[in-house]
Symmetry: C2
Subunit: 209 residues, 2 copies
């Protein structure tokens, strides 16, 4: 505050409050995938977005605050991608499979963001925005599982099956990111599809558990 650059921001800085936050998140996500979270800097982000560093600090008090906000944005985008994928399903069982494929595709397309999301997860309760993004993501999963299992969302079997579904696609994502599936099989995409199809058949055929 009080510096001349803040009072006379460059022409590109004609952002409304919300717009600038979105632009900073967008630039942060691009930077994260390109160079990793170590190299990310608020000053560099300000330079790339064409605004003064102080304007960035008004949205994110520290680099860590930005990383947590990026993690929350990641959970929202992952949820949206799964939601889009499920719209094309012919039934709730296939919806679970398409949602799982979208999860794995998201992890492979955004590996640095995916790792950041789960790295910051442990402390998510400290940040209301991240906590809400995570909660909504889990509620969406439970709703899909309840529909596929023909169970009410309050049924205790739903959370067991939801964690089963989550762990499966989470594990497949990590195996993909670590290059393992490519080592063991010729066609990692076909294998992923087969594994999710196997889980789908199991969901459809099992009434208890």
């Amino acid at each position: 505050m009080g510096r001349s650059r803040t009072q006379n921001p460059p022409a590109r800085a004609a952002y409304h409050h919300g717009n600038l936050r979105e632009a900073l998140l967008e630039a942060g996500l691009a930077h994260l995938e390109k160079s990793g979270d170590q190299a990310l800097s608020l000053r560099e982000l300000a330079r790339q977005t064409g605004v003064a560093a102080n304007a960035v600090y008004r949205h994110f008090a520290s680099k860590e605050r930005l990383l947590v906000a990026l993690a929350a944005e990641g959970f929202r985008r992952l949820g949206a991608a799964q939601h889009r994928a499920m719209r094309d399903a012919r039934d709730p069982i296939q919806a679970m499979k398409l949602s799982g494929l979208a999860y794995i595709r998201f992890a492979r397309a955004n590996p640095a963001l995916f790792r950041l999301m789960f790295d910051r997860f442990a402390n998510s309760q400290r940040d209301p925005e991240l906590a809400q993004a995570v909660r909504e993501s889990f509620e969406q999963l439970c709703a899909a599982v309840a529909a596929a299992s023909k169970l009410g969302t309050a049924d205790p079997r739903v959370s067991v099956r939801a964690i089963h579904a989550l762990a499966l696609v989470h594990g497949l994502s990590h195996l993909h990111l670590d290059g393992q599936l490519a080592d063991w099989v010729g066609d990692a995409d076909a294998l992923t599809e087969s594994v999710l199809q196997y889980a789908s058949q199991l969901r459809a055929s099992t009434k208890s558990g």
Copy 2:
């Protein structure tokens, strides 16, 4: 070579060739869990083991060679832990569950080693020792899956089910390590058990897929 310390190693350095390698791996594993792979140094390892640095370099030409050897040792220990767990099973279905629990327990007890194993996995084909440890680990899994599914090990359904089982426990391990299960449920251990029990029932009940 040719340095006086190498010719006059300290008293504790009375290792045979194989013994010293084992002692260095043991010290390396302890150091890894305590301080992470960044802080690991061959010179420090030599000091802790009470031998000259040159003696260490004869076994591991670089820090990266040591890390790859630690990853291979990790796969062997994980396989041994799963093998021990399966001995107590009353049938092949329960053996899969006990093996899965042993996998998750191993990951939680050795988080730095677990992450290192899968971090180095992508390049495992370059190192014969690591490649063999990984191959044996996967063969052990496929044998257990084939027994539980009453299928021959060459049946193509075995690899699909093996990846399903692996991804499930791998995902659960990561969710545990990232502190997620503790956030969502009161008793993460009971939930893990329920999820593996659910997968067990599915394995038992499904004939196709």
